[in-house]
Amino acid sequence: MSRRAAAALALLVLILAGGLALTAPGSLPAAELSRAYLPPWEAPPFGTDQRGRPLWATLAQGASVLLGPSLLAGVLVALAATLGGLARCLALPWLDAGIALVGELVGSLPRMVVVLVAALLLPGGARSLTPLALVWAALCAPGAIDEAAAVAERLGGARFVEALRAHGFGWARIFLLHLAVRNLRPVVVRQGAEVTLQVAFLEIALSYLAQADDQPSLTHSDRVRSWADLLTMGYPSLVLDVPTGHALALGVGAMALLVVGTHAAVRAARAR
């Protein structure tokens, strides 16, 4: 796949997910028990749930829950990686040592454990994915910075900047164009995209686990549903004769769409 085609695919996925999130209803439509468990061909586009409500509403609400915080975490990590890579070219050994120290401490604990301890701080009435996404981004940032800094180091670091200065290039052109856009771009976009996907999957996992224990989700209010609801609803179709396979397929399909979009973004940003 060419870089342009990959960029177009990534953009398409973003528009689809963003469109879904923006059109998400504030609350689910009223139950119509006579329309329960309808497959997609009888209740287009995605069928209905056990109470006869259209599954697109769950899909859209799920997108609204995870899209913003996931993108925010991804952008923050990409930004941190860019700054880390640029800082390496400034030859500031104390900064490198500081990043290494923070990375050592932050990276030594299992991320899920830190996220769960952070979740304890969320008041019951204000549960949201955003603070957890920020914690996840903070945990991922040192690794991303380290990798971007390694790329800058391989490029020559401060000597690379000196060489371009000798050519008469300005600071902005050197740091923004030659370093950030032309050289750090692949690693920065990959790190950002990976964290975006990780946070989206984190939301689905946390919501699913909460449902498994009959508890409210840590990531969204009870008025809203997550893509984990699609998995919970669809799971019985794997083991019992319950007609909810379409919900499972929709949930897995939505997750697959995110994976495709993420990989397309990484491919679009790869080096020439």
Binding site: A100, L101, E104, L105, G107, S108, L109, P110, R111, M112, V113, L116, V117, A119, L120, L121, P123, F201, I204, A205, Y208, L209, A210, A212, D213, Q215, L218, A228, L231, Y235, L238, V239, V252, M255, V259
Partner: protein, 307 residues
């Protein structure tokens, strides 16, 4: 390089402080929440005698006193009592059951991930295996765990989550932990990439011309990076164990931490999080010791050159 021992020493320092810092953070969280911590156990609307209860649970003298008392007890093997999950039950009892399960789960998965790394290092597992492992590893643990749980339910029916199916759930858990979130693929890819980069070095070419095995020459230089990768993978497995244990209903520390978090049982959370911190500290210390040993061996003066 001068000061090569600084990083391992930093790791040892971090390993020594982690089990102290984590319970301190949890204690800080308890007091950071609005309201009196004793009300988490005994809400004023439903029970009386909050002051006595706070004194009994050491919640009456502030976070520092609570932390000191808890840490002192923990060093003696006493981890306090559950606040909500199983109110009043000693947490040590819960941990006695949970820790071995988590160790077996993560240990078996870690062994397989280590084998993946060795396969990448020796070339026994090539590009096709890496591509396959990476493709499977795209799936998150919750999704693979769900499929594994379904397969167990199909096999055992109503007894799927009873004691008879426990060993199958454990095997399924290990498989999910290894395959999900790119653990196996990442270990294989990491080892292959590090080996390929080292193999391109000039000294390896010279060694080959001398008729020596490349791996023998590369290993001392590669080992610190591979040990670091392995530690990162094991930490990833510990993180994934939380999801796998809950989905497959394995009674591990991750499951305990999750339930404690959902129910705001700080008695359970502080102990479970500290156990995870101890696991992480052991891994950090092991990496540091390995690096110090490798560094010492690599930098020793060759026999016959000493004056």
């Amino acid at each position: 390089m001068a000061g090569w021992w600084l990083r391992p020493l930093l790791r040892l320092g971090a390993a020594a402080t982690l089990p102290l810092v984590v319970p301190a953070l949890v204690a800080a969280v308890v007091w950071a929440l609005p309201g009196d911590p004793a009300e988490i156990i005994c809400p004023r609307s439903t029970c009386t005698g909050g002051a006595e209860l706070a004194a009994r649970w050491r919640l009456d003298a502030g976070p520092w006193a609570f932390y000191q008392a808890w840490l002192g007890d923990a060093l003696g093997g006493e981890f306090g009592r559950s606040w909500r999950v199983l109110q009043g039950v000693p947490v040590a009892e819960l941990l006695t059951e949970a820790v071995p399960n988590t160790l077996v789960l993560v240990g078996a998965a870690g062994l397989l991930v280590t084998l993946a790394g060795l396969g990448g290092l020796t070339g026994a597992l090539g590009a096709r295996a890496e591509a396959l492992a990476r493709a499977v590893g795209v799936a998150p643990a919750v999704l693979l765990g769900l499929l594994a749980a379904a397969s167990i339910e199909l096999r055992y029916g109503a007894d799927a989550f009873g004691p008879d199916a426990a060993s199958w759930r454990l095997v399924a858990g290990v498989a999910v932990l290894v395959l999900a979130d790119g653990a196996f693929g990442g270990a294989l890819a990491g080892a292959r990439a590090a080996t390929a980069a080292e193999r391109a070095a000039r000294y390896v070419g010279v060694a080959v011309l001398r008729g020596e095995a490349p791996l023998d020459n590369m290993l001392p230089n590669l080992a610190p990076a591979l040990v670091g990768q392995l530690r990162a993978r094991l930490v990833q497995l510990l993180s994934g164990a939380v999801v796998v244990e809950v989905v497959l209903r394995l009674d591990g520390v991750g499951d305990l931490l999750w339930t404690g978090t959902l129910l705001q049982d700080f008695g359970v959370v502080i102990a479970a999080a500290t156990v995870f911190a101890v696991f992480s500290a052991v891994l950090l210390a092991a990496q540091a010791v390995a690096e110090l040993i490798i560094g010492g061996v690599v930098r020793r003066v060759p026999e016959g050159l000493a004056s």
